[in-house]
Symmetry: C2
Subunit: 356 residues, 2 copies
């Protein structure tokens, strides 16, 4: 009789809900720059769409000179761009807000990254020729369903302002990690908006429309809006760029360690510029030391690994923190900006360990 | 092009650690009486053992008349018993203790159940003939490794007092759900002690020894002991029978629902007697109503499903609680009995939902 070795131990997605499917990446156990389909977090508002077509057409129309139906072959003929991009759900770490907020109780794993390849949206928009007065670009997806706050059926749809739509790195992606995009992540075409929270990166694109007004779908003006007040819309503003952030992957919270040397490590990321430093405290925030930054793999739209070698000789309990700062001089705050729907959590990460 | 339908959405184990492997069952999404190997929680103190033998022998020796090496064939020839048994890790829900305690931060899923088949331990002990003065039966497992609180290598080993060892339903199991026990859950032989926390149900049994004293291995006298004090051993006592308990599986905590009729459902279980009632409160504990109990499938060592039809017409926030009582008149407390290592959590289960 033989037994399997320990290499058959692996982490899995963490289920938040199944209808629709919302599962997070076991991010604490990930040390790869490309998250595979199997472990890429899944965030859906509705059931998966049923896509039944023998030929896929992407309509780009609205306020344009030449409304066009692009085929996949058309898209493949344009010059492509490839980026390693962090996709982070705006609700990532929602479970950590105090007071608690309603919605999917994501812990730290509504985030993944990998290599997205596609054609710049700007290329398509140039091709069809936007007319004067164009203000926003609307991306309608194939998924649809009901919402608890409405009696109607809604399609997932989001818009981008012209400036972001025309950014040369905003792409209509057709590949993820050198393969067609996995179905659950937007096959065949997904908008990829680097540096914005992932609600902007619309999956299963059905059509792209240029409009001369502000788009007001519920996923634009009800959800994905920061509401700083417990009630009402006062001072609300839209969710856009990812906040500067970091998490500790190891040790695990409430772990017990021996005295000696331990590697504290994790990842850091931002939606503006790039990470300039990560600081670590092992004394509950009294003193801070620079962690060693790893390397961005390629561009600056991914996360960066960091590590810190901790020598601990005294037994006892320790509170360990990580704090990232980006090139725009944004730093993780002690407490995240509380908002009613729980978006953009980015407080300094904290764990506790006992050394014995 | 065709797309997969929604039946390919499934939950996964929730990873707590990989070295050793500790992963919990996505219990909130389970409504089956037999948890499969794939989703059965995994709780290990060490790496998986390497079992290399062409023939498996189970030694039963120590203070006995006829020390015997049993083969698997020997065991299969004895009359067998089959039970549906809840196995719950003593540390299940440890993450909910306040103040927080060190150790694996289990949520609600360090619990599973299924059908275990084997030969009563009593049969084997009768076969070998215990001598006078026999006091405890020690079960040594094949897994071993280091502990943070010791410089030595330890083998996982636990003992049972005679009374529990001779209980006719304490079995040496060789099948789980009509198949050989899955390797990660104790293949080829696992002790199954119904109604006790699962540390008692020793996996990968290497040998059984009858002794005339109290066994003092670290998994008997250091771990799996209730320490009520923050420091020191005062008033400590061993972890044995499972506390009366229940959890709400649906709705999920911090869910948003519509007005209307909703099914609140979950499971309840106990280590003494059987569940006699489950009460539900939808007003933060002010009033309680009986839930509808399902049926035990077979014996009373499993969990029992319960449900409650909730009609809600008024919008707002609701705190929903479930509280089980067993036939020994034990009821879930408002706060669990705090103990330093975080065992036996069984407070009334609480979730919050918003109705809109």
């Amino acid at each position: 009789m033989a037994t399997p070795n320990n290499s058959f131990i692996r982490p899995y997605l963490i289920t938040r809900s199944l209808q629709p499917e919302n599962q997070e990446t076991p991010i604490k156990f990930m040390n790869t720059p490309n998250i595979t389909d199997r472990l890429f977090f899944r965030r859906n508002h509705f059931s998966y769409p049923t896509l039944q077509f023998s030929h896929y057409w992407l309509p780009v129309h609205g306020l344009v000179q030449n409304p066009t139906l692009f085929t996949l072959q058309d898209l493949l003929r344009f010059p492509s761009k490839t980026f390693k991009v962090v996709l982070e759900c705006a609700g990532n770490q929602r479970s950590k807000f105090e007071p608690k907020v309603f919605g999917e109780q994501w812990e730290k794993g509504a985030i993944s990254q990998g290599e997205w390849k596609g054609v710049p949206l700007k290329t398509l928009l140039t091709h069809v020729g936007m007319k004067d007065g164009a203000k926003e670009i609307v991306f309608e997806a194939y998924d649809y369903g009901s919402r608890t706050d409405s009696d109607q059926i809604h399609t997932f749809a989001r818009s981008l302002p012209l400036e972001k739509a025309l950014h040369p790195d905003t792409i209509i992606a057709y590949e993820y990690n050198q393969k067609p995009i996995p179905f659950k992540h937007g096959y065949p075409l997904r908008l990829i908006v680097p540096q914005w929270y992932a609600m902007a990166s619309v999956k299963w694109i059905k059509q792209i429309k240029v409009i001369d007004s502000k788009f007001t779908g519920p996923f634009q003006t009800t959800d994905y809006v920061y509401y700083p007040e417990q009630e009402g819309d006062k001072n609300s503003f839209p969710v856009t760029a990812i906040h500067v952030n970091s998490i500790i992957q190891k040790p695990l919270d409430m772990d017990t360690l021996n005295t000696g040397i331990h590697s504290i490590h994790g990842i850091a990321w931002t939606g503006k510029g790039q990470i300039s430093k990560v600081e670590i405290s092992t004394d509950n925030g009294s003193t801070w030391t620079l962690a060693k930054l790893g390397h961005y793999s390629g561009d600056r739209y991914g996360w960066i690994p960091w590590s810190y070698q901790w020598t601990v000789t005294k037994k006892g309990e320790y509170t360990i923190m990580s704090k990232a700062t980006d090139s725009e001089n944004r730093t993780q705050p002690e407490a995240a900006f509380w908002n009613r729907k729980g978006y953009g959590y980015n407080a300094i990460d904290i764990i506790k360990v006992r050394v014995e």
